[in-house]
């Protein structure tokens, strides 16, 4: 049996295991280990397993992931989300749909100090849902805005998904953070525009809220200083090379922890539940990382990625057609799978395909440009049926709104996302401008 056949059998088994609800990390480990054994024999694999996990985990670079997750947990408890929402609300609330816009704006701002999409959506929902209900916003607009708003955090650094992509393609994390900022802000603006258009078509869905006085505006803006300080310290420090990402993450976790204690929202019990929640997500990510390590060895031994890449390069298809095809695959997978798992699972196969195509840009640029576009598409999976994890989280906070309405509510944001992806594909400098400027 040729090694390519073996690789295809391995992938088929992997998909089979995923379908019968074997956890992603376990399926990757099982297939990776068995494939490795089939190609190299028992002894090398058993020897490799003695320290494989240690070498996979003992990494200064990867420590950014648990640190940023801890930062997000602290930030979620700090009560900072309320000041962010209020600040956005005093400026936007008096417009039609303005309270929903404020919720989206708050999500974007909170994403700047929290690396997790779910935590952002959940934290902001706690604050914004009562206000949206008070002003009688339609259930679909209110919950749709929050579910979609949570996904903004994926591009606004720090973002765990961004780090994981950078690890998977061996890109520079700092450059990925730089590349993501402008597309992230465009995403925020696009979502606000989606709300503006939505309430123009359905005016009763987003009534006007109270108008704030100038003094209230200044006051509300001043109260956001801790978030602003934290963001500038962490991301500014990373962007301008004062810190490496690990140091930035440590500063962020430390700062968010101090703020939460100072605001009186973090006692010892709270600290324990923060580290436990961070432990849960960290454990999930790193077990997948371990599985991806084994799966990658197996796939590398079969050489299937090279073959696919050569096939794509010589197929005569337009590179952009192949890019669109890959994005469609991501969109479909995103409906079924967790985004982080999906990145680990697909990038080792999809990235070589991309790298083999001619997009008339250096490989480092291609990594950033492809990554940003992929992440936007992957994150759409968080708000599309049937699983849409963000939608589940919002539903938990707004139990009166049926989930079907939320899925209707996210549609304008998905359309806005399509426009954004098209823009980014057609105009790569949007993504590449900032990293080139700061290089």
């Amino acid at each position: 049996m040729s090694s390519v056949q073996l690789a295809l059998i391995g992938l088929a088994v992997l998909i089979g295991l995923l379908v019968i609800r074997i956890p992603v990390a376990l399926a990757m480990l099982a297939v990776g280990i068995c494939g490795y054994v089939a190609l190299a024999g028992f002894d090398p694999v058993l020897a490799y397993m003695k320290t494989a996990a240690f070498w996979q985990f003992a990494s200064y670079e990867f420590s950014v992931i648990p640190m940023f997750l801890l930062m997000g947990e602290f930030a979620s408890r700090s009560g900072l989300s309320r000041s962010l929402f209020s600040a956005a609300n005093v400026f936007l609330g008096h417009r039609r749909g303005g309270v929903a816009m404020a919720a989206v704006g708050g999500c974007g701002a909170f994403g700047a100090i929290c690396g997790s999409s779910l935590a952002t959506a959940g934290t902001m929902a706690r604050v914004a849902i009562p206000e949206l209900e008070r002003y009688r916003y339609s259930g679909s607009l209110a919950t749709g805005a929050l579910a979609a708003g949570g996904t903004l955090g994926i591009l606004i650094p720090p973002s765990v998904a961004l780090i994981i992509y950078a690890i998977a393609v061996q890109a520079n994390i700092v450059q990925m953070f730089q590349a993501a900022l402008i597309p992230g802000i465009i995403g925020l603006v696009g979502y606000l525009a989606a709300i503006a258009i939505w309430v123009r078509i359905f005016p009763e869905s987003g009534p006007v809220g109270a108008r704030a006085s100038a003094a209230e505006r200044v006051q509300a803006l001043l109260e956001t200083w801790p978030t602003l300080l934290l963001f500038i310290a962490v991301i500014g420090g990373i962007y301008f090379g004062i810190f490496d990402p690990t140091e930035g993450a440590a500063v962020g976790a430390f700062g968010a922890g101090v703020l939460a204690v100072w605001k009186g929202n973090l006692d010892l019990h709270g600290f324990f539940s923060c580290v436990k929640d961070a432990a849960k997500t960290t454990g999930m990510i790193f077990l997948i990382l371990l599985g991806a390590g084994f799966l990658n060895i197996f796939m590398a031994l079969t050489g299937v990625a090279d073959q696919l890449s050569a096939l794509a390069a010589t197929s005569g298809l337009n590179p952009y057609a192949i890019l669109i095809l890959l994005l469609v695959v991501y969109l479909l997978l995103g409906c079924l799978m967790d985004s982080l798992a999906m990145i680990f699972l697909t990038i080792p196969i999809f990235w070589p395909i991309m790298a083999g195509l001619d997009f008339a840009m250096p490989e480092a640029d291609l990594k950033m440009w492809f990554g940003i576009v992929v992440l936007i598409v992957v994150e759409a999976g968080l708000i599309t049926p049937p699983v849409g994890i963000n939608v589940l989280i919002i539903n938990h906070h707004a139990p009166k709104v049926p989930m079907r309405e939320t899925f209707i509510g996210v549609t304008p944001f998905l359309l806005s996302g399509v426009v954004r992806v098209a823009l980014l594909i057609l105009i790569p400098p949007i993504t590449l401008f900032l990293p080139h400027l700061l290089m």
Partner: protein, 192 residues
């Protein structure tokens, strides 16, 4: 109390142990955060960072992640694709859950077993970290302990899921099934 007492007790113990592991890992993680912040301050104010901070962080990350694994499992933190199986009858779902837990346990046990040799190798080689000369082998026993606990948690989950199938609904009382009986000794050992 409709639950089998010993059975429930073991489950509680495993939940508690895995939570302790996670908190211990969280304390290591927090310690690294503080260390890095001190190192940055030292560099900025006295131009003297904590020597070897990056190798402490690398080794500490491994310890923390090892310690997180059992808790992640017990909290069902390992993501899976749910949409196909969730439409199957409960019996099929339970069978798949038993299969997943058993396979998980087997892989975890394999890692625990191999990690023992990893400890032996690193002790024998006497690997030390580059700057501080810290003995690297110290980290590996955390891997053994965590994978071992993870394996026990998985097999316990498999036995519990199977046990529930044997006695009908999860809440109903039942005589001891083989799955439960075999799951008792570790719980007793922990009491001694």
């Amino acid at each position: 109390m409709p639950r089998d007492f010993c059975h429930g007790l073991l489950g509680e113990q495993l939940h508690r142990f895995s939570a302790w592991f996670a908190i211990a890992g969280g304390i290591v993680l927090t310690g690294m955060v503080v260390l890095v912040v001190i190192s940055i301050l030292g560099r900025a104010l006295f131009s003297s960072p904590v020597p070897g901070d990056f190798e402490i962080v690398a080794l500490g990350t491994a310890v923390a992640i090892f310690l997180f694994l059992p808790y992640c499992y017990m909290q069902k933190g390992n993501v899976a694709v749910d949409i196909f199986i969730s439409r199957m009858p409960p019996g099929v779902q339970r069978a798949m859950d038993v299969l997943a837990a058993t396979l998980f346990g087997a892989v975890a046990a394999l890692f625990a077993w191999r990690s023992v040799f990893g400890v032996a190798d690193t002790v024998r080689n006497g690997d030390i970290s580059m700057i501080l000369g810290f003995p690297v082998w110290v980290v590996h026993p955390f891997g053994v302990a965590s994978f071992a606990l993870l394996a026990v948690c998985c097999f316990y989950t498999a036995a519990e899921t199977l046990g529930n199938a044997g006695t009908g609904s999860p809440g109903s009382a039942g005589a001891e099934t083989p799955g439960r009986a075999s799951a008792i000794p570790p719980g007793n050992a922990a009491d001694e």
